[in-house]
Amino acid sequence: MIAVEFRKQIKRLRTYIGLGICAGLPIIITIALKAGGPPRDHGDTEAAFFRLATKSGINMPLAALSVMSLFLLPVVVMLFFGESVSGEAGWGTLRYLLVRPVKRARLLAAKIGVASVLAISGVALVILTGLAAGVLAFGWHPVPTPSLVVFSQGEALSHLLIAAGYVVWSFSGAAALAFALSTMTDVPVGAVGGSMGFVIVSQILDGITAIPKGVRNWMPTHFWRVWDGLFQLHADYGNLIRGTLHQLPYVVGFALLAWWWFKRKDILS
C-alpha cells in the first residue's frame, strides 16, 4: 500500500514544486550572498545566521533553515499532508480505493507514511543543497555561530542534523491538523489553507505579549525556533525536549480526530 501511495504522490506536479522549492531556495540564497555579500548586523538570530553564512559553508543550511522554517517549509509540509486524502477525493479515486478490501485505517496509515517521507525529504533537501552550495561557495571551515562560539565542522554537522530533525518534528502538530482536515473535505486547498491559517494565527497570538504567557506557551508554534539554541556555548537541550513533547498532544489529538472522522465518513465524492 505504501509503495502504491508513494508512486502516486511522487509523480505529482505539487511534489516536484514543493521539493523543488526546498532544493532551490538554499542555492538561490547562496548565490545572492556570494554576489552581494553578507547582510548588516541587526542583532536578530535569523540575520546572524545569514551574516555568518559567508564564514563557513556549513552555516548556509542553517541560514536557509532559519529563513524557511517559519513559513515556506510549513506550506510545503501542509501541502503534502493536507492534500493526501482530499486530493484523492477530488480525483474521484478515493471511492475506488475503498471498494477494494482495504481497511480505512490502513489507508490512512499509508498516506501518513508517504506524506511524512515527503516532508522529511523536503527538509533534507534544504540541508543537503544548502550544505553543498555553501561549501562550494564559502569553503569547509570551522563554524562561527551567533553566540560567538566557534564549532568544529563535525560538531556543527551533528547539531545541524539534530536541528533538522527537530524542525521536521516541530511541524508535526500542524501537519496532523492538515491531515485531519484532509479527511473532512474534498477540496485540498481547504485542508492546506486551514492548517496554514492555524499556523499563522498561532504565530500571531504567540507574538502578542499582552496574552498571558501560560496561554502563549501552549501555541503549537511556540517552540518552533528553539533549535537555534543548539548553536550556543552550552546547547539548550531543555527547550528542545520541551518543544518535542509540546507537539505530542497536537499530533495524537489530530491523528485520532482524522481516524475517527474517516472511519465514520460516508464517501460521497
Binding site: 506536479l13 474521484g92 478515493l94 471511492r95 475506488y96 480505493l97 477494494r100 478490501p101 481497511k103 480505512r104
Partner: protein, 303 residues
C-alpha cells in the same frame, strides 16, 4: 444452497433531518441475473449502491454480499467489481499505471489480475500508456469498466454505466454487460434510462423516493401497463367511443393520433369497438414498453 450475491434488508440512509435517501429498501439479486435498479434521478439508487460496497454507512438495516455482511473494506469485496457514478483515475498517470495501482492497492499481485481481459475491454490500444488526463469521457468509462473487471468478479456493480456515452458507445456497453453475464457473473446495474434496462436486464426493481415500488422480471414489470398509439379519421368520435370503454385508463392526443392507456382489455377489442362505432382506424402501434410501466408504477408508488 449458496447465498445470493446480493441481499438487502430494510436498508435506510438518512443524511439529515430532511433528507431520507433510502427508506427501508429490500432487495435480493440471485446468481446469474442482470438486475436493473431503475428509478428517476434522486431516487436513492447511487446511495444504495454505495452502501452495498461499504462506501456509505447505513442508518438502519444492512446488506450482504454472498452471505457476508457488508462493512468498509470487508474481504468479500474481492469478488466484486464496481463502477460507482463515474470512473475516477489519477490524472497524471497512464491508464496502465492506474490499473496497476488500483489492483495493488488491494494487496494483490498483478499476476492475480486478469490484465489481458481488462485491456481487451478497455480497447484503448497504445493510448493505455498515455496519461489519463488526455482521455475522452468514453475512454475513461471503458477504462473504468476494465478496472472493475480486473479481478474477474463474480458480481459486477455498475452505476449509470452509459452516462455521457454516444449511441455507438452505449450499444457497445450493453453488449459488454451481456457478455460479462454470459461468462457467469451477476450484474447489478442502476439506470434512469428505461430503454437500457429493458434491453439489457433480465430482472429489475423500480425505486422511487428511496424504496422499491415494484420488482420482478423485466417482462413482468412491462406487463403491468400497456399503451397503444392509434391514428384514426375522427378524433372526437374516437374519444367518445373510448370514453365509454371499460379498461381504458386514459386517452391523450399525441401528434396526429391518440395515445390510449389500457388495463385489462386487448388492443384488438379496442380497435373492434372503434370500427363498430364508426371510426376509421389507420394505424395501431403498441407502446407496451417499460417506460409506461415505469411511469405508472411511480405514480402508484407516490405518497
Amino acid at each position: 444452497m449458496p447465498a445470493p450475491p446480493i441481499q438487502i434488508e430494510r436498508l435506510s440512509k438518512r443524511f439529515s433531518e430532511d433528507v431520507l435517501a433510502v427508506d427501508r429498501l429490500d432487495l435480493t439479486v440471485e446468481e446469474g441475473q442482470i438486475f436493473g435498479l431503475l428509478g428517476p434521478n434522486g431516487a436513492g439508487k447511487t446511495t444504495t449502491l454505495r452502501m452495498l460496497v461499504g462506501l456509505v454507512h447505513p442508518t438502519e438495516g444492512g446488506s450482504k454480499l454472498f452471505g457476508e455482511t457488508v462493512r468498509p473494506g470487508v474481504d468479500v469485496l474481492r469478488r466484486v467489481g464496481t463502477l460507482v457514478e463515474s470512473p475516477g483515475f489519477v490524472p497524471h498517470l497512464s491508464g496502465m499505471a492506474n490499473l496497476e495501482l488500483f489492483w495493488r492497492a488491494g494487496g494483490q499481485k498483478m499476476s492475480e489480475a486478469d490484465l489481458d481481459g481488462a485491456l481487451e475491454v478497455a480497447d484503448l490500444g497504445n493510448a493505455i500508456e498515455r496519461k489519463v488526463k488526455t482521455y475522452s469521457h468514453g475512454m475513461k468509462q471503458r477504462l473504468g469498466i476494465a478496472q472493475a473487471l480486473l479481478g474477474k468478479p463474480d458480481l459486477l456493480i455498475l452505476d449509470e454505466p452509459t452516462t455521457g456515452l454516444d449511441p455507438q458507445q452505449m450499444r457497445e456497453m450493453r453488449d459488454l454487460v451481456r457478455s460479462i453475464a454470459e461468462r457467469g457473473a451477476t450484474v447489478l446495474l442502476s439506470s434512469h434510462l428505461l430503454g437500457e434496462v429493458e434491453q439489457v436486464c433480465s430482472h429489475a426493481a423500480v425505486v422511487n423516493r428511496g424504496h422499491v415500488v415494484a420488482t420482478g422480471t423485466v417482462a413482468e414489470l412491462m406487463g403491468s401497463a400497456t399503451t397503444v398509439y392509434l391514428e384514426i379519421d375522427d378524433l372526437a368520435r374516437a374519444r367518445e367511443v373510448l370514453g365509454k370503454l371499460k379498461g381504458v385508463r386514459a386517452v391523450n392526443e399525441e401528434g396526429q393520433g391518440l395515445s390510449v392507456e389500457l388495463e385489462g382489455i386487448d388492443r384488438k377489442d379496442v380497435v373492434a369497438k372503434l370500427v363498430r362505432g364508426g371510426v376509421g382506424v389507420e394505424t395501431v402501434m403498441s407502446r407496451h414498453r417499460l417506460e409506461d410501466a415505469f411511469l405508472t408504477m411511480l405514480e402508484d408508488g407516490a405518497p
